[in-house]
């Protein structure tokens, strides 16, 4: 192929300076004005444009502001790998613990690691069995306390605990003196099967990202320190912590209980205890087709991700959302457009834009102008755009929807059309001005007739 190419190139060069001239002229061409990164990001976040989405760029200036705020930086990132990262993999747990503001969790973690050979292994236990065990221990907390003793090892089968001969009991004298009630319990403490000792439960085992989930021990113990490992790199040393998971996934929850008196640690993990469902990302773009009629119409395009269905709420009026929707607004002024996106698991998110919509009267645009060079009304620019402190885009389109003029400066249109043509009397052009204000975009649209 390269030979072909060389030959052809030679031939092309021999063909004359034409191709050469074309190339060098085009090389000198500066790049075109492309949509800003934020605009692009938000458009990309909505997925590939595809053929049907030709209008997607047009008024994306509205939602881009919203997307910037909801952290559009996550676009294109792979949710699976994010989830994996967020999961409690060892590489991640260590720094997370070390970064923690409390020193305690780090110690805990070290304790835990040092004591691993002593920790009861419940890896073989299935989720259901383990959860059952939790329930059992809740119902009968005083069960299984016949044995007493400090020693336990990983080799000890769970079933043997109760039948094992009591080892020498060595409750800490000072601890029992301070707290006799706890002493009673601590006598049996070490010999409880781990699923009872470090038994725990959870308020709800399936929820959406961002939901607070409560964890509690089945049987509160005194004179112990607890450490919860939520499996997402986060820890808590509270007895009954509340935790919010930031990423979707299934999490293994681990509870470690350490007796303060002698540092004895019991650790228990329930795999896949909590399932966190992703939250859909509600997002939409909108445009207002040029309006000369009385009632402005707003047209929205659903750009939500991970949503199984969505509902539009426009000024309180609701409608099931498909790919796109159009609402007749009935009046100019401010409108509130919301899109509620729901996932198959019932997780929801809401995108909301306050959109001000006006016609030429709202922004001081004349209905006609005469670009004939006679010194009066030769140029067209709505007065409201002059000395405006907000960024804006002002755009004029012909009847076919081709953009004939566009500016982000207060620069008036003199009726020039692309290709050195000029607007002729009788022609009508649609214009729009989108102003990026402090609380959201304002949208003005109307028509101007050439005289």
């Amino acid at each position: 192929m390269s030979k072909d190419r060389e030959e052809e190139k030679k031939r092309g060069a021999a063909g004359g300076g034409f191709e050469q001239g074309m190339r060098s002229a085009l090389e000198k061409a500066p790049g075109m004005a492309a949509p800003s990164w934020l605009t692009m990001q938000s458009a990309m976040a909505g997925g590939a444009a595809g053929g049907a989405a030709a209008a997607s760029w047009r008024w994306i200036i509205g939602p881009a502001a919203g997307a910037a705020l909801i952290g559009g930086a996550l676009w294109l990132s792979d949710p699976v790998s994010e989830q994996a990262e967020a999961d409690g993999s060892p590489e991640r747990v260590d720094p997370a613990v070390a970064e923690g503001d409390a020193v305690e969790p780090l110690e805990w973690f070290e304790d835990d690691a040092a004591a691993t050979h002593e920790v009861w292994s419940i890896e073989g236990a299935s989720e259901i069995e383990v959860v059952k065990a939790v329930e059992t221990s809740i119902e009968a907390p005083s069960e299984g306390q016949s044995a007493a003793g400090d020693g336990f090892s990983a080799e000890e089968p769970l079933a043997d605990v109760e039948s094992e001969a009591p080892a020498e009991s060595s409750p800490d004298a000072s601890a029992s003196a301070v707290n006799p009630e706890a002493d009673e319990k601590s006598e049996d403490w070490a010999d409880l099967p781990v699923e009872k000792l470090a038994a725990f439960g959870v308020d709800i085992d399936a929820a959406c990202v961002g939901t607070e989930i409560g964890f509690r021990m089945a049987k509160p113990l005194k004179d112990v320190r607890v450490l919860w490992n939520f499996g997402d790199g986060q820890f808590s040393s509270e007895a009954s912590p509340q935790h919010v998971f930031d990423a979707p996934g299934t999490y293994d929850i681990t509870l470690s209980v350490t007796r303060i008196s002698d540092g004895l640690i019991r650790t228990r993990t329930i795999e896949n205890l909590v399932t966190i469902h992703p939250i859909p990302r509600a997002d939409f773009t909108w445009e207002v087709p040029a309006m000369s009629e009385q009632h402005p119409v707003i047209r929205m395009r659903n750009r939500s991700r991970d949503a199984s269905n969505a509902t539009w709420i426009v000024d309180g009026e609701t409608a099931q959302a498909g790919e796109s929707a159009a609402f007749e607004l009935g009046r100019t002024g401010e409108h509130i457009v919301q899109l509620v996106a729901s996932s198959p698991h019932g997780c929801q998110s809401v995108a909301r834009h306050n959109i001000e919509i006006g016609n030429r009267f709202g922004i001081g645009g004349s209905g006609r102008f005469s670009p004939d060079g006679d010194g009066s009304y030769d140029r067209f620019l709505p007065r409201g755009l002059i000395q405006l402190e907000w960024p804006f885009v002002f755009r004029i389109e012909d009847k076919e929807g081709h953009i004939v003029f566009e500016t982000t400066e207060p620069r008036a249109w003199d009726g020039t059309l692309p290709g050195d043509e000029r607007a002729r009397p009788g022609q009508t052009f649609a214009w729009t001005a989108v102003i990026q204000g402090e609380v959201g975009p304002s949208y003005f649209s109307d028509e101007v007739v050439i005289e």
Partner: protein, 206 residues
């Protein structure tokens, strides 16, 4: 979701800088983009978007359609940036993706009408066009060229771009467009002739 006071206002457009980053800087950006970082993607986008859009517009004159291709193109670029091995220029690598996307878009909108192979056209091509008064093509403004190119049919425009500007061989073009090499050559010949006429007209006006 309302922009708060003090929030940076969205700029509608980015004008790419005319001077490109030095190779080391660009390399760092690409690595950043390969790591999936938004910062690298942004820098690459802001630097090259304008150039890529220009390249796309040579195939697709419609603004909205070109922007859609640009969007799809950058999605593809950032999804596949891991596959860029730092051999050959990164800009060239991106441009190739953009050009492919542009041609895909043309094809899917069924705008590529082929002018069949014809001996006559091949003759035109092989005939030596050693004109005595070759105009000063290089003095043409790029806007003039783009305008003239917009007047070509999508097929002529695509073939001309691929061959004369991007430097593809006819064999590559034929694969790309799903036409025969002969068709590529004859389309090129005709596109070239039309374009020359259009531009000659422009030069006369200058």
């Amino acid at each position: 979701m309302k922009p708060k006071p003090g929030q940076p206002i969205v700029e509608r457009f980015v004008i790419s800088p005319s001077n490109l980053p030095d190779p080391d800087t660009l390399r760092a950006w690409v690595k950043s983009a390969q790591a999936g970082e938004s910062e690298g993607q942004r820098l690459i986008y802001e630097t090259f978007a304008g150039k890529m859009l220009l390249a796309i517009r040579r195939y697709i004159p419609g603004e909205q359609e070109a922007l859609d291709v640009l969007q799809d193109g950058f999605i593809k670029v950032f999804r596949n940036v891991g596959g860029y091995t730092f051999r050959g220029s990164f800009e060239g690598w991106m441009r190739r993706i953009m050009v492919n996307m542009a041609i895909d878009a043309l094809r899917s909108s069924k705008q590529l009408q082929f002018v069949g192979e014809s001996e006559e056209m091949l003759d035109v091509l092989s005939a030596k066009e050693t004109e005595q008064s070759e105009p000063e093509w290089a003095t043409l403004d790029h806007k003039d060229i783009l305008e003239a190119m917009e007047q070509l049919t999508p097929m002529y425009r695509a073939v001309f771009n691929l061959y004369a500007i991007e430097g593809y061989a006819h064999r590559e073009i034929s694969t790309q467009l799903g036409i025969s090499e002969g068709t590529s050559k004859s389309n090129y010949a005709k596109a070239r002739r039309n374009l020359r006429e259009l531009l000659r007209e422009k030069l006369r006006k200058q």
